[in-house]
Symmetry: C2
């Protein structure tokens, strides 16, 4: 279940610690975007000693490894969602504002034209919010 993600760590020669595995498993079990404190509280049961800075450090690491994606929220907290993309192709994320589920999608030729309003485009951030199918059925 979590092998894909653990492999991504090992590929890059990062150690495979119990905490790292637990964080990934926590994302897999929750199926929604999470912030550091929630993860910390959730894992404190399992680890007698667990530092919040470790959570922060690993989430940032996972984000750089393509395991997690950062999610922007109106409050000023960091959020991360598990990235389910099979390959490393550029893609975007859509989050459910009801349940927090994170989906992926590819938007072809979003900026194939590489100049906008005189600006040469270097990169972009696109986050879409909506309601997932599960939540739509419920209501």
């Amino acid at each position: 279940m979590n092998e894909i993600y653990l492999n991504k760590l090992q590929e890059k020669n990062f150690k495979l610690t119990p905490r790292r595995i637990a964080i990934i498993d926590f994302f897999l079990s929750r199926e929604r975007y999470l912030n550091p404190e929630i993860i910390w509280k959730g894992l404190k049961k399992k680890f007698k000693h667990l530092g919040l800075p470790s959570i922060y450090r690993n989430l940032e690491l996972f984000s750089k490894c393509g395991i997690l994606t950062k999610i922007q929220m109106p409050n000023r907290k960091l959020y991360y969602g598990l990235c389910k993309a099979k390959d490393n192709k550029h893609h975007h994320h859509i989050v459910c504002i009801k349940c927090g589920k994170v989906g992926e999608f590819f938007e072809e030729n979003l900026f194939e034209k590489k100049t906008i309003n005189g600006f040469k485009v270097l990169n972009h951030f696109l986050q879409v919010e909506g309601i997932c199918s599960t939540c739509r059925i419920k209501s």
Copy 2:
């Protein structure tokens, strides 16, 4: 020069205070996105007494009035850029990572299809980064 923005305030029955005018003028003079502290430091010369919370309060107000647009940056600070759009039509922003200039653009039919990956789309945030024409000429 600043009338368009001042009108937007008056339309909504917000008072037209010296500080508000100065903040808008500051944006007009700088032509780049700014954060609260920079504005505060820049305007302290003009106002003997000037509270940072007032800056925060007004920037947020301006953002709600469509005068400013929030800009996301990798550091955890708030940034705002002056919105130059003539009408209130939905649009996006592109920022120059060299000089901080903010441009506008419309992306037609970005999400005319209103369902993505099973999610019903409610709204989206798109920020594009690039190099403006002025900066390209310089380098």
